[in-house]
């Protein structure tokens, strides 16, 4: 697939998610018992839940819960990995050693464990995905920094900068254009996309586990619904034989949209 094609695909997937998030209602609409478990044909476009409320609103609220924090986490990882690559090109051994030691310890922590501890410490009234997403991004950063640093190393590190400076290029141009834009971009964007995907899956996981235990989610207030609610509702169609298979397909479809967006973005910026 061409870069243009993948770029358009990623942009369309992102646009779908942004539109869903921006049009999300504050609260779910009043139910209509006559439309309980309605199929998509009876309550377009996605059908209804057990109270006859449209599943479209679940999709919208889920997008609102996940999109902002996932993008924020992706940006944070992108910035940190770019800095890791640039530090390698500056060639300051002491700074590199400090980063390496820090990465070693941070990278040795099981992410989910740290995340649950963070979730426990967030006051129940202020629950949101954003702090958890940022914690996840920080925990994911060592791998991204390492990879960006390895790319910079392969370029030649400080010698690459020296060589380009000798050709008369300004420091800003060497670092921002030659190193970041031309060489670090594929790695940085791929790592950011992966974290975006991971944060989405993380939200799904945490919310699903909470819904399963009939508890409040750590990632959003009780007035909002997550895509995990769709998966849970849909799962009852298999486990309990409830007529909610359409919710399962919608939940899986939304996961597929995010996955496609992340993968197409990665493909769009792949190294030539």
């Amino acid at each position: 697939m061409s870069r243009m094609g993948t770029g358009i695909g990623a942009a369309v997937a992102l646009a779908v998610l942004v539109v869903l998030a921006l049009t999300a209602p504050e609260h779910l609409a009043e139910g209509n018992r006559e439309l309980a478990f309605a199929r998509p044909a009876a309550l377009p476009p996605f059908g209804g839940d057990q109270l006859g409320r449209p599943l479209l609103q679940y999709a919208q609220q889920g997008a609102r819960v996940v999109l902002g924090p996932a993008i924020a986490a992706a940006i944070l990882v992108g910035v940190l990995s770019t800095m890791g690559g640039l530090v390698r090109c500056v060639g300051d051994r002491r700074v590199e050693s400090v980063i390496q030691g820090f990465s070693e310890v941070l990278g040795a922590l099981p992410r989910m464990v740290v995340l649950l501890v963070a979730a426990l410490l967030i006051p129940s009234g202020e629950r949101s995905l954003l702090p958890l997403a940022l914690v996840w991004a920080i925990l994911a950063a060592p791998g991204a920094v390492d990879e960006a640093a390895a790319v910079a190393e392969r370029l030649g590190g400080a010698r690459f900068v020296e060589a380009l400076r000798a050709h008369g290029f300004s420091r800003a141009r060497v670092f921002l254009y030659h190193i970041v834009l031309l060489n670090l971009r594929p790695v940085v964007v791929r790592q950011s996309s992966e974290v975006l995907l991971q944060v989405t899956f993380l939200e799904l996981g945490l919310s699903y586990l909470a819904v399963q235990d009939s508890q409040s989610s750590f990632t959003h207030s009780d007035s909002l619904k997550s895509w995990a609610d769709l998966l849970y509702m849909g799962y009852t169609s298999i486990g309990l034989g409830m007529p909610t298979g359409h919710a399962l397909w919608l939940g899986l479809g939304l996961v597929a949209v995010v996955t496609t967006m992340a993968k197409l973005t990665t493909s769009m910026v792949r190294a030539r």
């Binding site: 070693e104 040795a108 099981p110 464990v113 649950l116 006051p123 508890q215």
Partner: protein, 307 residues
């Protein structure tokens, strides 16, 4: 040039500090957050007698006192008692009951990963299969776990919680952990990349000309990186174990940690997080030993004379 022992030395140091670091970070966070630590750990809306709890949990004399007391007790295998998950039960007993299942789950999940690593290193798994593995690996552990749980419910019906179903649950959990979230795909592609890069080195070509096998020559050089990749994979499995255990109903440490978090049982969370950190520390020790072993092996090689 940096001395060879620095890297494994740092790992060993990190391994011993990690189980202390986790409770230290949690302690620091509790005191860094605005408000009374006792009320953060157990909000008055859900807990009665916060001052008694503060005294019992050593929360009333500052972070250093709390940390020292907790670590001191933990070293003598006393993690306190559970407040909510299993009220009044010693947390050490809860850990002892749940830890073997998690280790079994992660151990079984490692089987496909190790097979993938061997297959990629030896070339038994062709590179064209990587795309398929990557596509399968895109599916999150939650979705695969749901499929596994559904399959067990459908197949076992009312006897979904007997011993036979438990065995299948464990196997399903291990398969999910070993495949989902790119675990298998990353292991295969990571090792393939590593081995292919090493295969291009001149010494490997020379070894082949001498009639030796490439892998035998490469192994000492790729072993440290391979150990690092495997450690990362196991850490990934430990992280994923939380979701898999809860969805599939496996009573391991991940399930315990989740229950503690959900029910705000601080003692259970602190102990379970420290247990995970201790396992992670153990992995660092293993990696350091591999690095030391390789370094000693390389230095034992016969040196060329001054001919």
């Amino acid at each position: 040039m940096t001395a060879w022992w620095i890297r494994p030395g740092v790992r060993l140091l990190a391994a011993f500090l990690l189980p202390l670091l986790v409770p230290a970070i949690i302690t620091a966070l509790i005191w860094a957050l605005p408000g009374d630590p006792a009320e953060i750990i157990c909000p008055p809306s859900t807990c009665g007698g916060t001052s008694e709890l503060a005294a019992r949990w050593n929360l009333d004399a500052g972070p250093v006192h709390f940390f020292r007391e907790w670590v001191g007790s933990a070293l003598s295998n006393d993690f306190g008692r559970s407040w909510r998950v299993e009220q009044g039960m010693p947390v050490a007993d809860l850990l002892r009951e749940s830890l073997p299942l998690t280790l079994k789950l992660v151990g079984l999940a490692l089987v496909p990963i190790v097979l993938g690593v061997v297959g990629a290193a030896t070339g038994l798994i062709p590179a064209r299969a990587d795309g398929v593995f990557a596509a399968v690996g895109l599916v999150p552990a939650l979705v695969f776990s749901l499929i596994g749980a559904a399959a067990i419910v459908v197949n076992f019906g009312s006897s979904a919680f007997d011993a036979e179903a438990d065995r299948w649950r464990l196997l399903a959990g291990a398969a999910v952990l070993g495949i989902a979230d790119g675990a298998f795909a990353a292991a295969v592609s990571g090792v393939r990349g590593l081995v292919n890069a090493e295969r291009n080195q001149r010494y490997v070509s020379i070894a082949l000309l001498r009639g030796e096998r490439a892998l035998e020559n490469m192994l000492p050089n790729v072993m440290p990186a391979l150990a690092g990749q495997l450690r990362a994979r196991v850490l990934h499995l430990l992280s994923g174990a939380v979701v898999v255990e809860v969805v599939l109903g496996l009573p391991g440490v991940g399930d315990l940690l989740w229950a503690g978090t959900l029910l705000q049982d601080f003692g259970v969370v602190l102990a379970a997080a420290t247990a995970f950190a201790a396992i992670s520390g153990g992995l660092l020790v293993l990696q350091a030993f591999v690095e030391i072993g390789v370094a000693l092996h390389v230095r034992r090689a016969p040196s060329l004379g001054a001919a």
